[in-house]
Amino acid sequence: MTDQTDRYSPLHQIHVDGGASFTDFAGWQMPVSYGSDLAEHHAVRTTAGIFDISHMAEILVDGPDSAAFLDFALAGRLSAIGIGQAKYSLLLSDGGGIVDDLVVYRLADDAFFVVANAGNRFAVGAALVERAGGFDVTVADVSDEYSLIAVQGPNSREIAKATAGIDEVGVSLDELKYYWSTDATFNGQPLLVGRTGYTGEDGFEFYIQTDAAADLWAALSAAGEAFGLVPAGLASRDTLRLEAGMPLYGHELGLETFPVQAGLGRVVNLKKEGDFVGRAAVETGPADGARVLVGLTTEGRRAGRAGYAVVLDDGSVVGEITSGALSPTLGHPIAMAYVDPAVLETGTPLFIDVRGTRIAASVTNLPFYKRDSK
């Protein structure tokens, strides 16, 4: 199961000591759960969970042309965001497909921090380097220097504020807005705190130098004890993001997917001046009748899973599920699926083929779950 190519988080021993079971994720051995993925899921919805997502890739873009370069290299208008602001974006291929989905933080007028999926680290790095020709920028993959810890859930802000060693916070954590970040220090070392996440809850992501990651995890965990914080693994992270209707690269997103099919048309800024990679293809759009992403809900407890067919009453296949699970929060199965648009327009009854059993499915707006915003 393991081989020499496996990579380990700097927090690996902490997870072993915490009783985690592990799964391979993009070549990394990452915690899948510390005992009960359901308990971890519910903790994030009601109190808080702490995730090690150190496998995520970080790429630093620096130099006078940084903003113009990212406007060209990515689908969004990164030049429009303020210093400290974060933005969800896409890196498109020339053909308009999705190379990766990203979160970009603006660190300074001329410096951006690009966070990519672990499995796409080298594809994103190579694309950015290639697209940087003619721009006065440097593109540096700093993934090995940074670890990423996420604290997610309604108590996450109180936990972050109570954590010993987090200091010199630029924008106070009480005032930090959703999808903004601030510089801080942890035990004197640089710390980037983003009010971002992938769970549908309020939360924070902490970018810390790798050699300080274990101490930060310990400090957050200690502060979290009074607030119901539990360590949470990738299994609960997946059900949380699914409930929140957030796409996962390799499931809902891929090189063959146009943003508009995935409901991400708004992420592509066609109004921005000048060319950007993928623009012509996106303006042309996918072929007529290209499948679109929808939410499906079913009754009972048997969930449609990735790869299961979406069918009509007569058995004809009109779509395929990309992610699905019994929703821990809602108590019924939910799924995301790509479906022929024709059947959506007519409202034809849809079914999921669950290993030979046909289960009626209802098309639902995403997300399945939305927190009460305060």
Partner: protein, 123 residues
């Protein structure tokens, strides 16, 4: 506590308790741990005739689906209604209250001993 050394096992991570002509079947703690939190079980009805090595049910967790194999030929005497109502018993007590089916078996195939199964999952 069930004496796990007294049970028989299969390579599909099931345990079998032999008592006369009745075989009680469940999945091992190792299998339950690999599956994650079990949220749904689909077990064969009493009276069903099953043949060893075939899939007779499903065990679903939040993240995956496991198959339940009949380890022996025979007739289902009982499916565990408590597990049907509360699938988390498979995780909390896999060798006890989380048992899945009782089978009136006709013939016992070669099964793994505790030591053999322990060696299998240590690989």
């Amino acid at each position: 506590m069930t004496d796990q050394t007294a049970l028989k096992y299969t390579a599909e991570h099931e345990w079998i308790l032999i008592d006369g002509e009745t075989a009680t079947v469940g999945i091992t703690a190792y299998a339950a741990d690999k599956l994650g939190d079990v949220v749904y079980v689909d077990l064969p009805a009493a009276g069903s005739v099953v043949s060893g090595g075939t899939v007779v049910g499903e065990i679903e967790s939040t993240k995956s689906v496991g198959e339940l194999f009949a380890p022996v030929d025979g007739t289902i005497l009982e499916a565990n209604a408590e597990v049907d109502a509360d699938p988390s018993l498979v995780n909390s007590d896999p060798f006890g209250a989380g048992w899945l089916i009782k089978v009136n078996y006709t013939e016992l195939p070669t099964l793994l001993s505790f030591d053999e199964y322990s060696a299998l999952i240590a690989e």
